[in-house]
């Protein structure tokens, strides 16, 4: 399993370079340096491209971040039981943040 999760860490890194680059570019620099407001964000979130971009960012950003945190934990010589507990905690945390993030993005229009 570790080989696959490690490989997905690399895949998520490649995707993040593109998706995060677009996110920063569109949100912070596309408006001539002027900050966006609620109306601008809502107009953007109504387009399939922007909502997909944000959801992809959430999925791969959270995976990359939390698996990175797990990799730091693996550097310490921990027992099998501790590894399972930490892995389970990070998976639960990741899914909770993903659920809340998607809920926040989509339910803005509810």
């Amino acid at each position: 399993m570790h080989a696959w999760t490690w490989f997905l860490q690399r895949i998520s890194a490649v995707i993040l370079v593109i998706v995060l680059g677009l996110h920063i570019g569109f949100l912070h620099f596309s408006n001539g340096g002027e900050s966006l407001n609620y109306t601008d964000i809502m107009a953007r979130l109504k387009t399939p491209i922007f909502i997909s971009l944000d959801i992809l960012l959430l999925i791969f950003g959270l995976y990359h971040a939390l698996y990175g945190l797990y990799s730091v934990f693996l550097d310490f010589d921990s027992g099998k039981k501790e590894k399972i507990v930490v892995f389970g905690f990070l998976v639960t945390m990741g899914l909770s943040f993903l659920g809340f993030g998607i809920f926040g993005l989509i339910c803005t229009f509810c």
């Binding site: 690399r10 890194a13 490649v14 993040l16 370079v17 995060l20 680059g21 920063i24 912070h28 620099f29 340096g33 900050s35 966006l36 407001n37 609620y38 109306t39 964000i41 959430l58 950003g61 959270l62 971040a65 939390l66 990175g68 945190l69 730091v72 943040f97 809340f100 993030g101 809920f103 926040g104 993005l105 339910c107 803005t108």
Partner: protein
């Protein structure tokens, strides 16, 4: 006497190797920026989620604090620096994984070039933000 000189020389050489180790510092900084970014993405998800759900007034109030406060502007600049460093060093690691630039000399050169590009992008972004 020769033994003492050699032992001293070896210690100096070891210390010099340690402080010259670009890869070691690149790795340490990758870890530090990574941990900072983990903290940020979790905070950003919660804050943006709550702000979006609180409606126009709540969202605009949050955004005005984040965008107009000099402390948050400074943190934003530092965040961008961390993202650029972590991203470009990450690309270097990916290239290494697929067998590009394996030698120590290539690694150092790739690192210097990538850090140069990251620094240019960072200063350009700061100029755009403050200009």
């Amino acid at each position: 006497m020769i033994d003492i000189v050699m032992a001293h020389s070896s210690r100096l050489s070891h210390r010099s190797q340690m402080w010259d180790a670009t890869g070691m510092w690149a790795w340490i900084l990758h870890r530090i920026t990574g941990l900072g970014l983990v903290f940020y993405i979790l905070l950003h998800t919660i804050l943006m989620g709550i702000s979006l759900l609180s409606g126009k007034e709540g969202f605009d109030a949050t955004l005005s604090v984040l965008m107009d406060n000099p402390v948050f502007e400074l943190l934003d600049i530092m965040l961008l620096g961390a993202v650029l460093y972590h991203g470009f060093n990450g690309i270097r690691i990916l290239l290494f994984d697929v067998g590009i630039g394996i030698s120590i000399k290539s690694q150092k050169n790739i690192f210097r070039i990538f850090m140069g590009v990251a620094a240019i992008l960072w200063f350009w972004s700061i100029a755009l933000k403050l200009g």
